[in-house]
């Protein structure tokens, strides 16, 4: 097993941990954090492929990771503010009790 494979295995493990969180946690904020973890695993893949890929001078892997981090930051800000707005309405962040879209 070479280094690229070990990095890919680590990132798929991170992805699975995030998936467990997104599927099983009942707190909306923790579900969002699980999704952030899955995004992090994808970023680790970008950087690992940049490091071990054929043309690292082109910097495409790094650019992809930078843009992906910015998108994740925007997503976290909007997602958390949506959770805050929903909390103000229904006084809970438990996903089992947030079961109505209508106000």
């Amino acid at each position: 097993m070479n280094s690229l494979q070990s990095y890919l295995l680590l990132s798929s493990l991170l992805f699975s941990i995030g998936l467990v969180g997104a599927l099983t946690r009942r707190n909306a904020i923790l579900v969002l954090i699980g999704i952030e973890l899955m995004l992090n695993a994808a970023n680790l893949n970008f950087i690992a492929f940049w490091r071990y890929g054929p043309a690292p001078q082109a910097l495409t892997g790094i650019m992809f990771a930078i843009f992906s981090i910015s998108i994740a930051a925007a997503e976290a800000a909007v997602g958390l503010s949506i959770i805050l707005a929903a909390y103000r309405h229904s006084r809970t962040t438990d996903l089992n009790q947030m079961n109505s879209l209508k106000g």
Partner: protein
């Protein structure tokens, strides 16, 4: 696989697993910062310094703090949320384990590339050049997206009842 990789991987996996497994939500976010910092150190080990420090600034510095704020603002005096039902926990773990098995099988069964490559360098000057020349359009779009997300987050989270009074 070097010793430093194994240490960093163990740190990252431990932090993220604790973040997804602990009961108290604030403890979860604290463990999550450990996991994010571990990923940032993995970036540094791979030679991507700029991305590593961006990861620390954005994730450890901003996203985790934002999550802590959200958890504290949505904290109420009701008893802690009921424990996650065990059947949902088991089925979620089974799904995630199946996904990991498929990915790991695909990775391990791929023939490894032959030669070890020298560590590439990505100085910040080159990254800035690339951002300002080749990637200038995505950069502008990213600025637009971040502005829209900033305004949208403020508008969504604003309490409208006060302005009605």
């Amino acid at each position: 696989m070097t010793a430093s990789f194994i240490i960093l991987a163990a740190l990252t996996v431990a932090g993220t697993a604790a973040a997804m497994g602990l009961r108290n939500a604030v403890h979860c976010v604290l463990a999550l910062t450990l996991g994010f910092a571990g990923v940032a150190m993995l970036y540094l080990q791979l030679g991507a310094q700029f991305v590593g420090f961006t990861q620390i600034l954005v994730y450890v510095g901003a996203v985790a703090i934002l999550a802590v704020f959200a958890i504290m603002m949505t904290h109420n005096d009701k008893p802690m949320a009921l424990p996650d039902s065990s059947s949902a926990w088991v089925s979620g773990c089974i799904v995630a384990a199946a996904v990991f098995a498929v990915l790991a099988r695909a990775i391990v069964s791929t023939a490894p590339s032959a030669q070890a490559q020298p560590q590439p360098v990505a100085p910040v000057q080159q990254i800035g050049d690339a951002l300002m020349h080749r990637f200038v359009l995505p950069l502008e779009i990213m600025g637009l997206l971040l502005t829209a997300a900033l305004i949208g987050a403020v508008v969504i989270a604003m309490d409208r009842r006060e302005e009605m009074k």
